[in-house]
């Protein structure tokens, strides 16, 4: 049973560019959240999607946007990349009634 899969695993972008990260949730899961994790810190909540709508959002600027598709997969888009956007981006999924999330291994984004 495949868990949460994220692509790509690593990515290098130039400042000012745009990036799209992709996530396929675990089978049976309908809720997807995205987190940003800087080195040595815990994951920071970006936003959550359920029924193709953004349900909650953390303290991230509008440059961060997302989407959830009918098959529950999700994308995270970041526009006008800054050097400070360099981090590990984690996708996590769960069923609505579950307690904890299942996390993917993340996409390591480096902005140069």
């Amino acid at each position: 049973d495949a868990g949460v899969t994220q692509s790509p695993t690593h990515l290098i972008k130039t400042r000012g560019q745009q990036v799209t990260l992709r996530c396929s949730p675990k089978s049976g899961h309908d809720t997807v959240s995205w987190y940003q994790q800087a080195l040595g810190q815990g994951p920071q909540f970006i936003f959550q999607y359920y029924e193709e709508e953004e349900r909650q959002r953390g303290n991230f600027p509008d440059r961060f946007s997302g989407h959830q598709f009918p098959n529950y997969s999700s994308e995270l888009n970041v526009n006008a990349l800054l050097l400070g956007d360099s981090a590990l981006y984690l996708c996590a999924s769960k069923r609505g009634t579950d307690y904890g999330y299942t996390f993917g291994s993340g996409t390591r984004l480096t902005v140069v």
């Binding site: 307690y99 999330y101 291994s105």
Partner: protein, 114 residues
């Protein structure tokens, strides 16, 4: 202002002994708490959770204790095994629904020595 704090960046324990990982929070509105374990090059894995209406939850070798008055929770691992060596994250939520989000601490690296 960090709302969830894990003040010990690392902890080293002998195999077979008890591991105690601590977590403090500042937002009294948090009503659901979770612990995650993370191995290198993997995403965090959900371990155990506790609702604010309880003060203890047990799952095999793992027990989480919640002290609401002190805004403190702890994870006990008994007995500790070398495979438990990982980074442990404490997380807190305002509510456990589809709309819930979790605030994470910065993690504690546990090393269990054989």
């Amino acid at each position: 202002d960090q709302q969830v704090k894990q003040n010990s960046p690392s902890l080293s324990v002998q195999e077979g002994r008890i591991s105690i990982l601590n977590c403090d929070y500042t937002n009294s509105m948090f009503d659901y708490f979770l612990w995650y374990k993370k191995y290198p090059a993997e995403g965090p894995t959900f371990l155990i959770s506790i609702s604010s209406i309880k003060d203890k939850n047990e799952d095999g070798r793992f027990t989480v204790f919640l002290n609401k008055s002190a805004k403190h929770l702890s994870l006990h691992i008994v007995p500790s095994q070398p495979g438990d060596s990982a980074v442990y994250f404490c997380a807190a939520s305002l509510f456990n629904t589809n709309a819930g989000k979790s605030t994470f601490g910065d993690g504690t690296t546990l090393t269990v020595k054989p």
